[in-house]
């Protein structure tokens, strides 16, 4: 049923529809409302799950690891520093091939402290062996959350559902929440093939010598290739229930015949689509919304970029000393492609900076001026320090021993 809901509340209700048996989380902005919502559903008797209040994100991730290993469908959520504090356990969860769903309410990473949205947090753990699916709006956040449990349990890979903090989590809008019967028909009860049990003891997470480590890593990597099919089939099957899809791995819209495309990941896509629909772009443009960042759908990207002369890739995170992270992967996917497009990479909206619809036309116009392969597009040079000031100010020295004068 369609309701006017805050994104976080809708995600909490979607999680509850998946009947998790264990929820563990530690509060952090902008994720907190999701787990608060789940805590209320449990307290009100609407969800039969064990809510474990923990003292840190490290423990939150550890609790869901153990709970899922013991056969319980388990869920957690975090953001920013919380994701970083979890990172050791995130590797453990994926290496042990334990199905878990985590919502990352995407937020910038300190320092400097920012509570606002960008993608630095999930990018910081992109190599941890988690499937990462990005949501363009709150409807996709609801639908992807439900699909995530099935994808995770079928692939035995954990799934991180990436939802832009504030921009989606704190936005109230009409959202269709499916019926419990639809979710139950789509998502069978959780059965874990290696459930820890005292009646059939087994060990997990033991020391693996060089004799077998390579094979373990191969299996983990190979599982991601199969995950592409599971992501596509989950989206297709769920669309059979609700009549809408999330674009599978990558959504292609706009002017299909255009020679220029803009690729975005997450909620900026809505503003881009609005700019296209409102005629703000000033020329035909193909629009690409990247949903799956892990597995990285190189084949789908090569197909979606056929016939392009230029591809603008938006990044909401930064690898300092290198550039935008999404664009690196896109370039790698397109390498060696006959008549592949020029890739122009713009970081935009770092730390929650507003991304207005007018900015896309400026990006398109900048293509004529031979832009660098990477730049921060919405940089305001007036806010940079004046180098003359530093040179003129003598700074006191400090340390255990004062230098003699």
């Amino acid at each position: 049923m369609r309701e006017a809901l805050e994104g976080s509340q809708a995600i909490a209700r979607a999680v509850a529809l998946c009947r998790p048996q264990v929820v563990a989380a530690y509060p952090i902005t902008p994720q907190t409302h999701i787990v608060e919502g789940l805590a209320r559903l449990i307290a009100d008797g609407l969800l039969a799950a064990e809510l474990v209040s923990v003292e840190s994100e490290f423990s939150a991730a550890s609790v869901v690891l153990g709970a899922a290993a013991a056969g319980s469908r388990s869920y957690t959520a975090s953001a920013s520093q919380g994701i970083l504090l979890m990172s050791e356990v995130l590797y453990n969860i994926s290496g042990l091939r334990i199905p878990v769903v985590l919502t990352c309410a995407n937020r910038a990473v300190s320092s400097p402290v920012s509570i606002w949205n960008d993608h630095q947090d999930s990018m910081a753990v992109r190599d941890s062996g988690w499937i990462q699916l990005h949501c363009a709006d709150n409807q996709e956040a609801v639908d992807t959350t439900i699909q995530a449990f099935r994808i995770s349990e079928r692939t035995e890979l954990p799934v991180m559902v990436c939802v832009d903090g504030f921009t989606l989590t704190h936005t109230l809008e009409p959202i269709d929440l499916p019926d419990a019967a639809q979710v139950d028909a789509f998502l069978p009860p959780f059965r874990f093939s290696r459930t820890l049990s005292s009646s059939a003891p087994l060990s997990q997470g033991t020391l693996v010598s060089p004799e077998f480590f390579t094979e373990m890593r191969f299996l983990q990597h190979e599982a991601f290739a199969r995950a592409e099919k599971e992501i596509l089939s989950a989206d297709r099957d769920w669309a059979g229930f609700v009549g809408r899809d999330c674009g599978g791995l990558l959504r292609v819209e706009g002017d299909r015949e255009a020679s220029v495309a803009i690729l975005a990941m997450g909620s900026v896509y809505g503003t881009l689509k609005d700019a296209h629909r409102s005629g703000l772009l000033g020329r035909p443009v193909r629009l690409l919304s990247l949903r799956a960042f892990r597995p990285f759908p190189a084949g789908a990207i090569r197909e979606a970029t056929q016939g392009l002369s230029d591809l603008i890739v938006l990044d909401r995170s930064l690898s300092p000393g290198s550039g935008g992270i999404v664009a690196h992967e896109i370039r790698s996917a397109l390498y060696g492609m006959a008549k592949g497009p020029r890739v122009v990479n713009f970081a935009v909206g770092l730390g929650g900076r507003n991304v207005p619809g007018e900015i896309f036309r400026e990006m398109l116009e900048s293509l004529e001026k031979d832009p660098p392969s990477f730049s921060i597009f919405d940089l305001d040079p007036r806010k940079l320090p004046d180098p003359g000031l530093d040179a003129a100010t003598e700074m006191p020295s400090s340390g255990p021993v004062l230098s003699p004068r």
């Binding site: 309701e3 006017a4 805050e6 902005t29 509570i115 504030f166 921009t167 989606l168 704190h170 936005t171 109230l172 809008e173 009409p174 909620s267 900026v268 809505g270 503003t271 689509k273 609005d274 700019a275 629909r277 507003n354 991304v355 207005p356 619809g357």
Partner: protein, 197 residues
């Protein structure tokens, strides 16, 4: 599309005000969107919330930089230059203030801030009303109902239904009476414009 920006201070319920307005629009069959922009949450700090209402699904998620309407939960907020930034030259401002619109215009001039001659300003003493009924300085109910009465964007009945979705019992009754009194303090449809312009 109607774009409304709400300015106030943390603790006044401004984010809730934006959510209530968007919920009322949804209940009336419109598409709507509401979201806040705040710093680290704390009482008293300036906060901004955004509301969009349209007849078709709303795709854009950028902040509202050129609103048609401003709703100010506190007349002290007028002194912050960002409050008036981007307001449409034909826009309108509803202020929670015991002062008259003329007095507020004069104060703005003294502060060196300008409001275009076509910008309309109305005030209602929403905090006083809220203190009388709720015993707390939460100006939402009278302020939102006065706004809807002035603009005719939505019915105050829909606002009442939005309140009923979040409150019950005595608190709901008190808010409903504030919805009625807020609407009665302003001239109905004074700022009326179609949503789908």
């Amino acid at each position: 599309m109607v774009e409304i920006r709400i300015h106030g201070r943390g603790g006044q319920g401004n984010v809730l005000a934006a959510y209530l307005l968007a919920t009322a629009a949804f209940l009336e069959g419109q598409f709507s969107q509401a979201f806040p922009s705040f710093g680290a949450e704390r009482r008293g700090a300036p906060i901004t919330a955004f509301v969009r209402i349209d007849g078709s699904p709303i795709l854009r998620r950028s902040q509202i930089t050129s609103p048609r309407y401003l709703v100010l939960a506190d007349d002290g907020i007028l002194r912050i230059p960002e409050t008036l930034a981007g307001l449409s030259p034909e826009g309108a401002i509803l202020v929670n203030s015991p002062r008259s619109p003329e007095e507020l215009r004069k104060r703005l001039e003294v502060e060196g801030m300008t409001v275009g001659p076509a910008v309309r300003i109305e005030t209602i003493p929403a905090t006083r009303l809220a203190m009388e009924v709720l015993g707390r300085p939460i100006p939402n109910a009278p302020l939102l109902s006065a706004f809807l009465s002035l603009t005719g964007t939505l019915s105050t009945e829909s606002l009442g239904r939005a309140f009923a979705g979040r409150f019950s019992g005595d608190l709901l009754q008190k808010n409903m009476s504030l919805v009625a009194s807020g609407a009665s303090l302003v001239a109905q449809n004074l700022w009326k414009e179609p949503i789908h312009a």
